[in-house]
């Protein structure tokens, strides 16, 4: 992961469940023109938050020994808009995990209301890669700082 759209991981249960938070702020550049005078978090970035949470969960299940790559997003829904100042609580569950891939579903709530939901599939690249370009030292440091690993 080269950048983060998650602020903090709160729960990381191997092969099962993860919970993270992301706080939206008007200081983020993309909210200046999405949309001008009416800032809302783009749906693509909301998916990114769910993908990062679920992807880290998948990676943790294999002790970060595999590179986990987002492959497919299905049935994404965005019932309400996410606005500056909102705190997104991102939850992810593993439906199935195998050496070659992982099937997950995720949900984001803001103040207890569902703001987004999606099913996301990841593939696991072969272990032959010399080093992880997904789970970088920076990311692992974030997880340690969060106290979840």
């Amino acid at each position: 992961m080269r950048w983060f759209h998650v602020d903090r991981f709160e729960v990381l249960e191997k092969n099962k469940y993860a919970r993270a938070v992301k706080c939206s702020t008007l200081g983020e550049d993309h909210l200046q023109d999405h949309f001008e005078g009416f800032p809302i978090v783009p749906s693509a970035l909301i998916i990114e938050s769910m993908a990062q949470t679920a992807g880290v969960l998948a990676g943790f299940t294999y002790d970060f020994a595999k590179n986990v790559i987002l492959a497919k997003v299905e049935k994404a829904e965005f019932p309400i808009m996410v606005r500056p100042g909102d705190k997104m609580v991102i939850e992810a569950w593993i439906d199935e995990i195998k050496p070659e891939g992982c099937w997950t579903h995720s949900r984001i709530t803001v103040d207890g209301r569902v703001a987004a939901a999606a099913s996301i599939i990841f593939v696991h690249l072969e272990d032959a890669l010399p080093e992880s370009f997904v789970f970088t030292d920076t990311l692992l440091g974030l997880l340690k700082t969060s106290g979840v690993i």
Binding site: A71, K72, P99, E100, G101, W103, I121, V123
Partner: protein, 127 residues
């Protein structure tokens, strides 16, 4: 034991969910890539959904073997040699290869992965 028609119906549901196609597009002869627009990741997803739908385990590469023409001895000028064709038929036991054998181009191998191949494979798994 489910009938071929029952298996086909479940496979159709899987294709509709995995590939976002209309049920009418799913026929026994439909090739996953050419006719239904499947991409590489979809093969993994289809296997997962078939396992759930039929409550079975599908070992890796059993239904969708990979690298069917990777051995340079099996290919000459973009066409499978006799040995290459024999090796392919051995690994793709549920494919209908009669037409393909007339001109076994490597570029046409993907067309052998049809809905019918999946149905015939599943008939042996759920028997």
């Amino acid at each position: 034991m489910p009938t071929r028609e029952e298996i086909f119906q479940k496979v159709t549901d899987v294709m509709v969910d995995a590939l976002g196609v209309d049920p009418d597009q799913v026929t026994m002869d439909a090739a996953l890539v050419r006719d239904l627009g499947a991409e590489s990741i979809d093969f993994l997803d289809i296997v997962f959904r078939l396992e759930k739908a039929f409550n079975i385990k599908i070992p890796r590469e059993e239904l969708f073997p990979e690298n069917l023409a990777a051995d340079p001895r099996f290919v000459k000028d973009g066409v499978l040699t006799a040995d290459g064709l024999a090796a392919l038929k051995n690994r793709l036991r549920f494919a209908e290869t009669a037409e393909f054998e007339k001109e076994p181009k490597v570029s046409a191998i993907a067309d052998l992965f049809t809905v019918g191949l999946i149905v015939r494979y599943l008939e042996t798994k759920v028997a």
